[in-house]
Symmetry: C2
Subunit: 481 residues, 2 copies
Amino acid sequence: MTDADVKKQFVEDLTDQSDDFSRWYNEVVRKAQLADYSPVRGAMVIRPYGYAIWEHMQRLLDGRIKATGHQNAYFPLLIPESLLQKEAEHVEGFAPECAWVTHGGREELEERLAVRPTSEAMVCHMYSRWIESYRDLPVLINQWANVMRWEKVTRLFLRTSEFLWQEGHTAHATHEESLGEVLRMLDVYRDFVETELAIPVYAGPKSESEKFAGAEMTYAIEAVMRDGKALQAGTSHDLGQHFAKVFDITFQDEQGKRQHVWQTSWGLTTRMVGGVIMTHGDDQGLKLPPRVAPHQAVVVPIWRKDGEKAAVLEFTAKVRDALQGRVRLHVDDRDQYSPGWKYNEYELRGVPVRLEIGPRDVAQGSVMSVRRSGRAKEPIPFDRLGERLPALLEEIQQAMFQSALEFRDANTTVVRTVEEVEAHFAEKRGFVALPWTGDAKVEARIKEKTGATLRCIPIDQTPFRDHAPDGSKLALFARAY
Amino acid sequence: MTDADVKKQFVEDLTDQSDDFSRWYNEVVRKAQLADYSPVRGAMVIRPYGYAIWEHMQRLLDGRIKATGHQNAYFPLLIPESLLQKEAEHVEGFAPECAWVTHGGREELEERLAVRPTSEAMVCHMYSRWIESYRDLPVLINQWANVMRWEKVTRLFLRTSEFLWQEGHTAHATHEESLGEVLRMLDVYRDFVETELAIPVYAGPKSESEKFAGAEMTYAIEAVMRDGKALQAGTSHDLGQHFAKVFDITFQDEQGKRQHVWQTSWGLTTRMVGGVIMTHGDDQGLKLPPRVAPHQAVVVPIWRKDGEKAAVLEFTAKVRDALQGRVRLHVDDRDQYSPGWKYNEYELRGVPVRLEIGPRDVAQGSVMSVRRSGRAKEPIPFDRLGERLPALLEEIQQAMFQSALEFRDANTTVVRTVEEVEAHFAEKRGFVALPWTGDAKVEARIKEKTGATLRCIPIDQTPFRDHAPDGSKLALFARAY
């Protein structure tokens, strides 16, 4: 096959986003080897390239979680049914989605155990034993773990029975303090998702009907994907004293009085790998933000005659050494694939920058950089590589955020009436911002007529200020993943 | 209470190792807040201080796993019973220890699913789909995950139903190559455990009766604990083609011929937190090797009169700034606890170095360092702190390894006959090295009469060279955790 043939084959192989976004998504995930289906319904395998993205997310989010004073711990996978049942709303929300362990070894268990759908019940049981005095507060614990919510439909990364996440669980002496924590972690999520994943989000409380089972209120960050559907990117829950009261988590305050603690929980999951794919990808495949890209740049050495090979590979080795520790570099010097094949492969895999090194580049002592997005070319002299490439990657990161922000803003429509919301969703997608006074009937009507749900009421109402009648706030509605 | 009272209370509270090692272990784990029991039989909660040790282990081992060319991935938690049954020895070994999921949501499942006891079955199923050509080999994948083996007895970190580990799973074109991998990872484990955990180990193959269910042969690293019992610290399995044949994992070789792959798997678990405790701890509590200690040094500021407090805390802040990023430092400036109480607390918690800062230290512009082990004191001038403290921590790390090595060697006895093995274990513990020709009857007799099992046949026979009759090798026997 010639390079042109290969290219054609790749382009033909991948469905266009505009033809069938969902199919494009599945093809990209499979072809880029991010993930695969498993023999268990609803469960996925995260392959090394997809897992490396998650590892970078973990590292960057974990740093923020620790910088805000939290420590990691690990709680058991299996939760006795009786613990799960203590909080009425909680069990109602989660029990229908649980996988149940009924046998241990050869014995039937006296009480069945849920594979954790979330860990509030287990954490609260332990907190009731650990917390005694105001001196023990606040308790600021996070856990990185797998959880399971039984699903009939599998969408790789987006909707799987088992997924990976972090879940924070904190306990405080006052509601003022716990609410501060809820908002602090919401902002940690916003900053993480915007800065590292280049995904702009709206952040704010949800409605009563959309809150977490057992919470006083749920706050979320919400993003829009390239097909116009919203993706919940992270949630931070004000648990009030709901769990503290049923699990009897109390502390002695400074006056010696026994009080219930105030709690929060917050989580962000592997679905954000899906969020990255659907925010940035295009018809050529993935486009990974440099900060979480497993390979930030790929070097493709090019030679035609055998006489050229040695010089090209020697220069390639020099480039590799020069960038060691500065850029996550992947060198693909495999013989059996042509440069054209490799170009397509790494565009599909979303590597932010390609560095081409051919005999002419060697002669000029430079490499040709090609940006994944737009394919802009820029020769970089060898001496400037260690300085220029990191800067270029940062420019790409910023440009990806800007581009996603423009898309988000272009896909946010402000309206004044419920009728306008309905008219909008009859033809379009994206976020619709509507002045909302908290009327659950309005929310229910929109959901019934359009399938759109209330995503959040942005804390930052700046973009909507001119549209809010007498001090009311605008709420965002969208069809969502 | 006076400091002397507090000290007495601490010492009285903690059982001496020589009185009851097992009780000492449980008390240390609970009092130092490393872990706790959970409401699920056999399952533990790893508390922040214990989990921080594991996080340092993960970071240091993960670096070595990646440096040897492996990538991380994630496979599903639940394994269909039919997959587990494919390899006959494997299912026989693990099925009796499985927790079984029989219901998903409100439905009974058609086939029950095992909570993974280990992931060979799932991994092999996926490899049979991913591997086609010699160009796809080797596959070098690792996973950090939770696994479950149903246990009736709980020993925190050492024996719990659920534990955390990493499991490597690799596939190769030849047995020579896969065996090379088995030995490479065994040496990675040896290096990790000796260098980072300061635990000396013997490394070598096990016997037929002690190998992993489904393996061709198992290699292990084995350590001795302070009570003389052995602890298996990591295993590396030569799986041969056992799984490749039943899961039909084949590749087309360079000649176009279809062949089965050769596989390995290898794992190291949270039980090594227990290994650290039982190798280094003493009657005062934990002794953590600096490289994995959550706090490498603790600063205890000391003042008697209020007039002294400001100057002491100001100097403490300077010390904290000077050591930022060089040492994992914990400053305990809490008012409500006395210095004496803190000394005992951080000795219990095994912090390698205590830095005392009192008015006299401030006046002299130095801090008083006290080693956890032996309590040797050394004043360190403020200007030299950034250089001296890291060096001191490294000296402590080396001294801990040396001390553990001397203990190990003093607890390794070379004998010539089975009768001597029996006589030894009638009175003592530790490793017994016996020339062994592979006779399973000898092994079985020793196990029956003494409870000691064959731990490994050290690859490095240097220490035993003079004791091996005509080219035979010595095998190590011990009672083990």
